[in-house]
């Protein structure tokens, strides 16, 4: 039993170890930021690599914590994203005073997400969710000199608290009607009972807040804009992915008896999310706000995939998130470098960018194409498979709507590409000296964008692990 804990909790324990190492670094002797950063990136790499070994299935703490190959894969994706974000914030963190604290916060949040994904009980789930949210609010405040950064932190913590409250209310109603919080037992007690439906709606609203689905998206743009780029990247990729994974697990595992109800809810949510995300993304000039709205639209597409509720549904979700990690982080990486070295964050600043920074331009362009879903990038396959999973329900109206919206999203992504390649600019951003490790992260993203799509192995592997209703 005791050895079992070490195996099943391997990833969580390793991450906790990392947190302790960071604490010791902080209280130990003075070191240069560069050496700490290199150490952390090394450790994160080890952390990612360790997750790839042997996957056992099982549960501990009376089923509070469960794990299997699929969950380990999801955690590995989050680990990968964490590593990439860390590598890409090198230029920003190099001169930051509170470096160790920054990582402490992000790691704690990641640890919370791991517990949330693995939860087999709504209580555990809530614990993990809170553990992942609160450190993030502090991290959003990490551009210490900027007022906007503290504004973002305030908005994030308030809206999170609000959504957690709603979530908790839903959970307590569920407990009141069923007398249990364990996933395995809950399923048998779920029915079309109005109280339970109400609890379900509260639960979904809480989730929708976290993944910023419309109409619960209002905090997103301001927080994304104010927070430091690294935190924005973490919020939009890691945090969203973790909640989506959990959301799908809960829908597919617990709420199976009312699948037809949540199918309708998901369809409505996804239509609203895609439409609003797209319409607002059209008019943004701040790059982070732009990516915020585009990521809202992406979530809408993900919801279509989830609504398919088949094995292909959950497979296409994880597959898309993996692709989204590569493409969104590549885009954020470029924005992060430009913001740290040139202090510019507007799309109009990127005019004429290709003349001075061809490498970064291509990285950004390919990333945007992948987000738009243009072949041969992986985004094409990701989006198509999501829609294919959704179309399995013969819901062609939704598919027509979504594919026409892909054209709209195509327009705003192309607008950025146009600024980079075609627009004239008297004073373009000067030639930037990209740190080697950030370049490496970008190469990894590029390789990911190409390989994840064309090599069918990745999808087949994810599909073999995933489960439907």
């Amino acid at each position: 039993m005791s050895s079992n804990i070490f195996i099943l909790l391997r990833q969580e324990l390793l991450l906790s170890l990392l947190i302790f190492i960071l604490l010791f670094i902080k209280i130990g002797k003075e070191r240069s930021n560069e050496s700490i950063l290199n150490l952390i990136n090394g450790l994160l790499f080890v952390n990612l690599a360790a997750g790839l070994f042997g996957m056992t299935e099982g549960g501990i703490f009376n089923g509070m914590f469960t794990t299997n190959a699929f969950i380990v894969l999801e955690k590995n994706i989050l680990n990968l994203a964490m590593l990439l974000i860390s590598m890409q914030s090198y230029a920003w963190l190099k001169n930051h005073k509170q470096l160790a604290e920054f990582y402490l916060l992000l790691f704690t949040s990641l640890l919370g997400m791991f517990f949330m994904i693995s939860s087999g009980n709504l209580l555990m789930f809530y614990l993990g969710l809170e553990m992942s949210t609160i450190p993030l609010a502090a991290a959003a405040n990490f551009d210490l000199a900027k007022r906007k950064s503290s504004e973002a932190a305030m908005k994030l913590i308030l809206s999170s608290a609000f959504s957690s409250g709603i979530l908790l209310m839903g959970i307590s109603f569920l407990y009141g009607t069923t007398g249990t919080l364990s996933f395995d037992v809950l399923t048998a007690h779920i029915s079309n009972n109005p109280m339970q439906l109400f609890a379900f709606i509260l639960l979904v609203s809480g989730f929708a807040f976290k993944i910023s689905a419309v109409p619960f998206h209002l905090w997103t743009a301001d927080v994304y804009e104010g927070a430091p780029v690294a935190v924005t990247a973490f919020l939009s990729v890691v945090s969203k992915a973790a909640v989506l994974f959990t959301f799908t697990t809960i829908l597919y595992k617990v709420f199976t008896p009312i699948a037809s109800v949540w199918y309708g809810v998901l369809v409505v949510l996804s239509i609203a999310t895609i439409l609003i995300g797209n319409l607002f993304a059209l008019r943004q000039d701040n790059f982070k706000r732009f990516l915020a709205f585009s990521s809202i639209a992406q979530v809408g597409f993900i919801l279509i995939g989830i609504s398919g509720s088949s094995q292909a549904g959950s497979a296409s979700l994880v597959y898309f998130v993996l692709i989204y990690v590569f493409s969104n982080l590549a885009a954020f990486g470029v924005v992060s470098v430009v913001s740290a070295l040139a202090g510019k964050e507007n799309i109009s600043d990127f005019k004429g960018f290709y003349k001075t920074n061809p490498f970064l331009s291509w990285v950004l362009t390919i990333a945007l194409f992948s987000l738009a879903g243009v072949p041969p990038t992986a985004g094409f396959f990701g989006k198509l498979f999501l829609m294919m999973a959704g179309a399995a329900k013969d819901n062609y109206g939704l598919i027509i709507f979504a594919s026409l919206n892909m054209v709209v999203s195509f327009f705003y992504y192309l607008k950025v590409v146009k600024a980079i390649f075609m627009d004239e600019n008297e004073a373009p951003i000067q030639k930037l000296n990209v740190p080697g490790i950030t370049k490496l992260a970008m190469y990894i993203c590029m390789a990911g964008i190409i390989i994840t799509g064309l090599a069918s192995l990745v999808y087949d592997y994810i599909y073999s692990l995933s489960i439907g209703i």
Partner: protein, 493 residues
Amino acid sequence: MNLSLLILLPLLTALLILLSKQLAQIRVIGLVGSLAQLGAASWLLKLYMDQRAAGNTATYLFETNTTWFKALNINYHIGIDGIALAMILLTSLIVVAGILVSWTMEKLSKEYFFLLVLLSMGAYGFFISLDLFTLFFFLEVAVIPKFLLIGIWGSGKKENSAMKLALMLMAGSALVFVGLMGIYYNTNTFDMVEIGKMGISLGVQKFFFPFLFLGFGIFAALFPFHTWVPDGHASAPTAASMFLAGISMKLGGYGCLRMAALMPDAAHSYSWIIILLATIAIIYGAFATMMQTDLKYINAYSSISHCGFVILGIGMLNKTSINGAVIQMVSHGLMTALFFAAIGMIYSRTHTRMVAQLGGLLKVMPFISTVFVIAGLCSLGLPGFSGFVAEMTVFMGSWQNPDGVYRAATVISAASIVVTAVYILRATGKTIMGPISDEHALLSDATWNEKLAAGLLIIGILIIGLAPFLINQLIMPSTDFLMINIDKAITLK
């Protein structure tokens, strides 16, 4: 021969171009790469004809079927019939000519040649695909290079044109995607051969055929979705115009043809709409061309009219008309590429494309003027050139349809040739005859690379024009196969 070679060759060329440093190197790699494509395509033609002569009657030759996404039943299934082979030959010819006329391109030359080659890869992949997913994949691969080529190297309001083109083509592929989903969830496969065998139920056909046909129709400048054509072609750099009109619009025509064969019942019941739209495109394109003063716009609008014949041929759904549509695709591809090449040559020397500002060019550039005239004569369908063969076949085919409305459409479409003659003769006359202005008096004639490019395309035009039985030999057996399904559908009615 493994057909994947046709994708790998451009891919390899593109990678080598990325790795090379100097302009001279890039050009040579581009040319060698495109010549290798032409060589491969010709070799493929020889192998294909040998197989057919040896009595191989399979619908598709050189088939390979590899599993791609196993869980979703997506296969990388490739193979060709005569129609696809004709398109592949057309593509390879235009690629060589396109690389040759871009010889002097100096602005960001590496990116330019890279994107040209990438575009050709998309086209080859599209023509060899027998799996609808793969087909769709390559259809979209070819969109982005077009956007960048027009937006970066174009002229005039290039950003707008590039954006318009990219968005309209993406909307086209979105419609195609919806149609594909419909087919997939009713047959559980993307494989065109299998779907052709098992057939699709009538209701599904009727609902999804419009999506597919309109989607591909946007690529083929189907009225009223033709508006990307004039701006896109006029703003694009010369080689990109050639690729766009010569190859890219053919993706649409080819797609429409395949869809009509895949869903013959729907194609038959909607044929009157298809024919109506095609006739409007033919007439509208011709009259709109009359009003144009810019040489590139003239050719772009006439392309709408000419591509209307392709759609008309497909809409008539009989053997001769479909044959005509295929020949018209090849012929129009060659002719319009030649036209754009000639316009590009004139523009690079005179720096204007306005008919009013040009004149007497025959005196200083006899070669280019001759090319220009040949392209014009082919466009208006003079016997001896490919345009005559193609349009004649389409008309003969469509006349076979005894219905009065269809006859009327045929007559109206045929009448458009007179309009074509008016604008072509007017434009050529004003441009190359008459007095020459002083500033143009010292200009030089075509260089070796331009001569070679034009020569290649002219040879293609003349082969079809003078020996039409050659291309017929290639495509007839394959149209016979297509007709089996279509005839079945029509006789059922």
